[in-house]
């Protein structure tokens, strides 16, 4: 009976048939198209804001939405002139919050992650579970008690009130620990110690250089996290000159309902705000070790 033949020869024959098919590229057409559609979906709003930023406020609501306008220079001028150059101040604030916050957070996380990965000390398990709890806790629910405590000690409304809470990232510590576990061999540490190096020296000259790729990842995650954060600065700050870009653009937009000229400002403001961060992502993409995030799961 033909039905009793084992499937194997059929399989090999099919493989042979596939091999003989010229070029063999047909299989990848559909995936390429689906991916391209995904790319299109992700780019449409970005392209739109770049196009819309060239429109004058009268063109914004009258011409086809993807048709470039004639008001780019005027919009840029308006943007930088708004409230005595407040926009540049917002951008500078974002750079300060995200830059200083991410650098300091990376150092704090690296030290803590290294200690958790490479030392055995009483309370290590407890510290690890505290950090896991911190990873699972929605940080934003803490913003209001943080604000109340900050105002008690008179820090609410200052740069510190936004900067300080950004310095602790349980997820950053978690990643640093994962990275230290896999990238810093215990033998190397012990060898350095036998050579007479103390703990601080071992950390700075042996462990730290080995942990750089992990540190870059923590830095970028935290930088983007702080740059994109909205609720914390929104709650903490009341002086418009201290706002980061997210809160500044939000206030522009909410004042804008009814005044179309502010809509144009919000659009050009958004366009200018995303360019540096997108550029940074594109340049630094290769240094990301995002496999860390999933790699840590196998620990």
């Amino acid at each position: 009976m033909s039905t009793t033949t084992t499937p194997r020869p059929v399989g090999t024959r099919r493989l042979a048939a596939e091999r003989s098919r010229p070029a063999g590229r047909r299989g990848a057409v559909l995936p390429s198209i689906v991916l391209f559609l995904g790319a299109l979906y992700c780019l449409v709003p970005v392209v739109w804001v770049l196009v819309a930023s060239t429109k004058s406020s009268s063109e914004l609501f009258s011409t086809f939405t993807f048709l470039p306008g004639t008001g780019l220079l005027e919009n840029l001028g308006d943007l930088f002139a708004y409230s005595d150059g407040q926009y540049l101040q917002w951008a500078l604030n974002s750079v300060i919050f995200a830059g200083v916050g991410a650098v300091a957070c990376t150092l704090v996380s690296t030290m803590a992650g290294y200690a958790l990965a490479k030392y055995d000390f009483p309370g290590r398990q407890l510290a690890f579970y505290a950090i896991l709890g911190g990873v699972l806790l929605p940080g934003i629910t803490l913003a209001i008690p943080q604000y109340l405590l900050m105002s008690k000690i008179g820090l609410a409304g200052t740069y510190w009130s936004v900067l300080l809470p950004s310095l602790i990232s349980p997820f950053g510590i978690f990643l640093a620990r994962v990275y230290a576990m896999s990238a810093v061999p215990t033998e190397t540490i012990e060898a350095a110690r036998i050579d007479g190096a103390n703990d601080a020296r071992v950390f700075v000259s042996v462990a730290l250089p080995m942990m750089v790729p992990g540190m870059v990842t923590v830095f970028l995650l935290q930088f983007v996290g702080i740059w994109n954060n909205f609720l914390l600065p929104f709650i903490m700050l009341s002086d418009e000159r201290m706002y980061p870009l997210t809160v500044g653009l939000y206030t522009l937009l909410s004042k804008g309902s009814g005044t179309p000229s502010l809509y144009s400002l919000a659009i050009i403001g958004a366009a200018v705000a995303i360019i540096p961060l997108v550029a940074m992502m594109l340049v630094l993409q290769r240094y990301w070790r995002l496999d860390l995030i999933s790699g840590g799961l196998k620990g």
Binding site: G27, S32, L35, A112, Y119, L137, L167, N228, M280, L282
Partner: protein, 304 residues
Amino acid sequence: MTATYRRVRRRWGAPLLFLLPAALLFVAFLAIPIGYALYLSFRGMRVSGGGPFGLRQETWVGLDNYVAVFTDPELLAGLGRLAVYGVIAVPLTLGFALAFALLLDLPRVRGARFSRTAIFIPYAVPGVVATLLWGFLYLPSTSPGNWILERIGLGGIDVLHGPILFPSVANIAIWGGVGFNMIILYTSLRGIPTDVYEAARLDGASEWDIAYRIKIPLVGPALILTGLFALIGTLQVYGEPATLRPMTSAISQTWVPLMMIYRDAFTRDNLSVAAASSVALALGTLVVSIILLRVTQKRSFGGS
């Protein structure tokens, strides 16, 4: 346990010093605020002494604030809206991220680098800015969809009112979240040694079979982690609906729980109720995360 994972001999001083900055920050900005929120959530204003001359005093009120929170129809409605939003946003974000990651991992895909970069770009766009962009694409007067619909003689649709508002808001989160999750899943796919599925490929397994039977189970832990973060992110949604408010009357001041917490704390000055809802939301998130981790039965965070 490989030699690499072995830890240095038991010591006290140095590790505690390395941990000190993190520990201080943890206590100051996580532990104390949690404790303070808990404390506030059991406090409240009570009129003591009775009669017209009663004094309003802050005092212990037990679980009153929690009772008030959980019997508040507005909060329950907010949780309901959050659930609808989450049911749309979380599976679609993860589904698209997984699908794109698997497609990128296929051999002979054209333009893979371009697509991967383009899909990742929204990660660099802050939620507030993303909402602003999508808001204008939704707004009938600037929406390209409506422009086309009107040109071909159909009326425009208003995607910011009625039930379609949920997918509209969820779309902003999906747009912002797909790329990051895709990269995490893609990097863990790249981490699978190819000989694992070369053999299957030689046996004539289709790419679909390989994806379904080999790749997806192997990236399971990464999928759980991305799912967990998507879920936590969903429960604390605030920026997107708050930014859309000026554009639509359909989003109330209490559209999602965090918006309501913000209103209670800063517009109504009712800190106790705001604290109680914060605690409830945080506990709810913890419980949901732990259930998710338990159900998937993976030691996803690796223990130690």
